[in-house]
């Protein structure tokens, strides 16, 4: 066990954890932020995606020790009022059905649009193909990413 400081959404959390514990479980069980989801545990489904220093990563496959003292953004840290372009677009296009995978999808889409504000279909495929949605919201995810890109230019 080790004492580890997690910088989650600009707030420090000091936790006692096995350094090998995946970041996902530290975020969910020890820091108590449950927006980040467990889906597969082997980096195949993308439900656990968070930003580590701005880069989307699979929190289920990163030991908590390697995320210590780094800036981590979870879905709760995107905005407090659903005001980001991606969240607004997700609402406009009515993307979620069950909603369980959407935290990961939104984190991936946000990172995509940050580095590529005008993605093509191929860019969207490349950025989003690591994310499974069992409800099959893929057509709307694609549409919402394009809508979010437009919303960003309007600002």
């Amino acid at each position: 066990m080790a004492s580890i400081t997690l910088k989650l959404n600009n707030k420090n959390y000091t936790i006692e954890a096995d350094p090998k514990m995946p970041l996902l479980w530290a975020i969910r069980d020890l820091a108590g932020l449950t927006g980040t989801k467990y889906g597969c545990g082997i980096a195949q489904c993308g439900a656990c995606t968070v930003h580590l220093e701005g880069v989307p990563v699979r929190s289920c496959s990163i030991p908590v020790s390697s995320a210590a003292n780094k800036n981590i953004t979870t879905i709760e840290g995107l905005s407090t009022d659903n005001s980001t372009a991606v969240q607004r677009a997700w609402i406009l296009e009515q993307v979620p059905q069950c909603g369980y995978c959407q935290s990961g999808q939104i984190m991936a889409a946000s990172a995509l649009l940050k580095r590529n504000p005008n993605p093509t279909d191929k860019d969207i495929d490349a950025a989003m193909q690591g994310h499974i949605c069992r409800c099959g919201t893929y057509p709307r995810i694609r549409k919402a990413i394009k809508t979010a890109a437009q919303l960003m230019t309007q600002k």
Binding site: W90, I91, Q94, Q97, C98, Y100
Partner: protein
């Protein structure tokens, strides 16, 4: 908009909704004797000792609280149930709080969210309930003004006197209105006047699903709650002989190791639970467990053995379900005969939220929170196992991260209750993805042998289907294994029964320890592949266009749907070098036609260019939710047709996670265009009926393009001859 989501007890609901005599609260009572629906107001019901299910409550501030009795697993009941009530109540959806009802079958009727039944099962009652409250409020206002109630109308949470423009907010009327008798006769709105129903209103649960605030089962926490994972027998019916937890107990955070059982269709299954103060520690402790299993009492089937048995069984005697005429002699005499065998795979539900459940057992009650499709079933199950009356077993629904049939099953809450009772603490049991994919229950694999006769004039002369596969109803100890499967014809168009002179549907149930359960659209999800592929094969034999071939057998409602399909797809002008396939199926009282267009890529792979769906679900609530459900159904069918399959080897499921059980991904998804028929037919289901026609429409399109007939699923789009 303020939508609060709380799991509540009855007392909390009363508090929340202000049910203190100062609010108007209406609900149903289900009299034991009749289907007759009584609408009561709460104070009258209380003094008469009638147990009421409280659906609507309006407090003195005009705040409306509605109770949703069904699970929300993505299908949109969270939106569509209140959308119906609010329509007749004349309130805007943003004036409404929505809360989930706790499990209580006696109060809410069936809450099992399955069979695409939420709307079709209750819409008339919900509309009447909203209308009753509205009429009572209008009557109260009219009395206060001393005018005739026909001079008043309700709008946007107020009653208005037409001539004077005088207005009462609902909140100002509820105290008086609560003293009235609900009207006996009530006129419902003409669909032409709908303001909310049939409008694509945004879902109330969307905002909380884009910022992490929606609470799924896995997210629910109680103070002092521990986390448990369970090592279950890797073969389905194994028993624990002994275990060694020496290493497990050395894992920091591990608190308890105990044997647990799980009620699977009345059969008690065994496992060893590791309980820790966080999920990861429990998982690590489980890895260190050494368990010896006794799995000698049942066969260890492989996929090959299962299908060999089914292929053998379809050649033998069937348990007859539904027949007309004589298919044997009709087939023998037929000019053109068609014969084909179709096979569909076992599948995992693989909800994105793996199974989980929180239980807290205290001296006086059991309380459960989880992603639950059947709260009333679970309440009954726990009551009977723990010998408790229903008021001591509280089942709370969280949001469900997918359900698809799996979460209607009662096994996983039982395990959590057992552990909490034993360790005397609240506990969450978490299934890993590997547990979720390998323990089951699964969609059963099926084999269909079809024989058909095509008449000289190119009609279906006879249609015979022999089915073998596990029957979901035959898993309980003592189940009658001689009865037919009542779902043998699910997916088949009802109209065919009136026009095909000879038909026969029968089954020969397969016996296997593999547990099986409803999977989105249940038997239709596999039946339809056989039926609609076979009809296509007969159309080819008849030398007819596949829509025209179907058309000659079907009545007006189907004709309208086929016209629409032809119109939206440009069916009659379809071009060369593309393949078009059609399939039309019927289940859960809805009819869906789908057309798939395919082409070949430069590398010779099949590309799905587009899918069109026409949904006829009769009376409907929210067109955007219907479209979303059909889109999702098509994606799920695409996965089962072309991507994934659960196989078995030596009695164990082989595919353990998404690296082996490959899911459709964003780049696999074609354009999908959904249309909804407008008519006044009875409301049909929405969550499932869009799934069955996709696969046969796809394989029929591939035949149209390549001449290759696909009769076994799944297949790869990259490897078609």
């Amino acid at each position: 908009m303020e939508t609060t989501l709380k799991n509540i007890s009855r007392r909390n609901f009363i508090k929340l909704s202000g049910l203190t005599g100062t609010a108007l609260t209406l609900g149903f009572s289900f009299s034991a004797s009749a289907n007759e629906l009584d609408i009561w107001n709460a104070s009258a019901a209380e003094s008469s000792g009638v147990e009421l299910n409280a659906w609507i409550s309006i407090d003195t501030n005009g705040k409306v609280t509605l109770l949703n009795h069904r699970s929300e697993m993505g299908q949109g009941s969270f939106q569509s149930v209140p959308q119906m009530i609010a329509e007749e109540l004349e309130v805007a959806l943003d004036q409404v709080n929505i809360i989930f009802a706790p499990g209580n079958g006696r109060k809410y009727g069936s809450q099992v969210t399955g069979g695409s039944s939420t709307i079709r099962g209750s819409y008339k009652k919900l509309l009447r309930l909203g209308a009753s409250a509205r009429e009572m409020l209008i009557e109260t206002a009219a009395k206060k003004w001393g005018v005739n109630k026909s001079e008043c109308y309700a709008e946007n949470g107020s009653v208005i006197h037409r001539a004077s423009g005088k207005k009462f907010h609902y909140g100002e009327l509820v105290t008086e209105a609560a003293k009235l008798e609900p009207p006996k006769e009530i006129a419902l709105k003409n669909p032409k006047d709908y303001k909310l129903i049939r409008k694509p209103l945004p879902r109330q649960d969307t905002p909380m699903k884009v910022n992490g605030k929606a609470v799924f089962g896995l997210d629910f926490k109680l103070p002092g709650m521990l986390y448990a994972v369970v090592e279950r027998s890797p073969r389905f019916q194994g028993k624990v002989i002994k275990w060694d937890d020496t290493e497990t107990k050395k894992v920091p955070g591990v608190k308890h190791v105990l044997k647990v059982t799980r009620d699977e269709f009345g059969n008690m299954r065994e496992g060893v639970a590791v309980v820790a103060d966080n999920t990861w520690a429990a998982m690590q402790g489980r890895k260190a467990l050494k368990i010896e299993w006794d799995d000698t009492a049942f066969p260890h089937h492989s996929t090959e053995e299962l299908y060999a048995k089914m292929r053998e069984q379809v050649k033998g005697e069937m348990i007859s379900f539904r027949t007309m005429g004589n298919t044997t002699s009709a087939f023998a005499k037929a000019e053109k005969k068609v014969e084909a065998t179709y096979e569909t795979p076992y599948e995992s539900h693989s909800c994105m939220e793996p199974l989980n459940c929180v239980a807290h057992v205290t001296d006086d009650k059991i309380e459960i929170w989880g992603p639950i499709q059947g709260p009333d079933w679970i309440q009954q199950n726990i009551c009977s196992h723990f010998k408790l009356p229903p008021e001591k077993v509280i089942v709370n629904m969280t949001f469900l991260g997918g359900g698809f049939g799996r979460k209607a099953f009662t096994d996983y809450p039982y395990e959590a209750v057992m552990i909490s009772k034993e360790i005397k603490a609240p506990v969450q049991v978490i299934w890993t993805r590997e547990d979720d994919m390998t323990i089951g229950p699964f969609r059963p694999g099926m084999v269909y042998q079809c024989k058909g006769a095509v008449t000289g004039s190119g009609r279906i002369g006879s249609f015979e289907t022999k089915i073998s596969g596990q029957n979901m109803d035959m898993q309980n100890p003592g189940a009658d294994k001689t009865s037919y499967n009542g779902s043998d014809t699910e997916g088949f168009l009802e109209g065919y029964f009136e026009s095909i002179p000879h038909y026969s549907f029968g089954d020969s149930p397969l016996d296997s320890p593999v547990p099986v359960m409803w999977w989105r659209s249940v038997y239709s999800s596999t039946n339809a592949f056989a039926f609609e592929s076979f009809i296509d094969e007969m159309a080819v034999q008849a030398g007819k266009d596949p829509i025209d071939f179907r058309r000659q057998h079907l009545g007006e409602r189907y004709q309208l749907l086929m016209n629409k399909l032809e119109q939206v797809t440009g069916w009659k002008e379809r071009g060369k070098n593309t393949g078009y396939g059609v399939a039309i199926t019927e289940c859960f009282s809805s009819i869906v036609g789908e057309v798939v267009k395919v082409s070949k890529t430069a590398e010779g792979k099949i590309k799905i260019d587009k899918v069109w769906a026409v949904m006829d679900c009769g009376w409907y609530v929210n067109p955007d939710i219907i479209k979303a459900q059909v889109e999702g159904s098509i994606v799920m069918a695409l996965g089962a047709a072309t991507k994934h399959e659960t196989t078995f080897k030596d009695g164990k499921a082989v595919e353990r996670n998404f690296d082996a059980y490959k899911m459709p991904r964003i780049q696999d998804i074609p354009e999908i265009e959904v249309h909804i028929m407008d008519n006044e037919e009875k409301a049909g289901g929405v969550g499932e009926p869009g799934l069955p026609p996709f696969t046969p429409a796809l394989t029929n399109a591939i035949f149209d393009l390549t001449g290759t007939r696909i009769r076994r699923l799944p297949f790869s789009l990259d490897k078609i001859g």
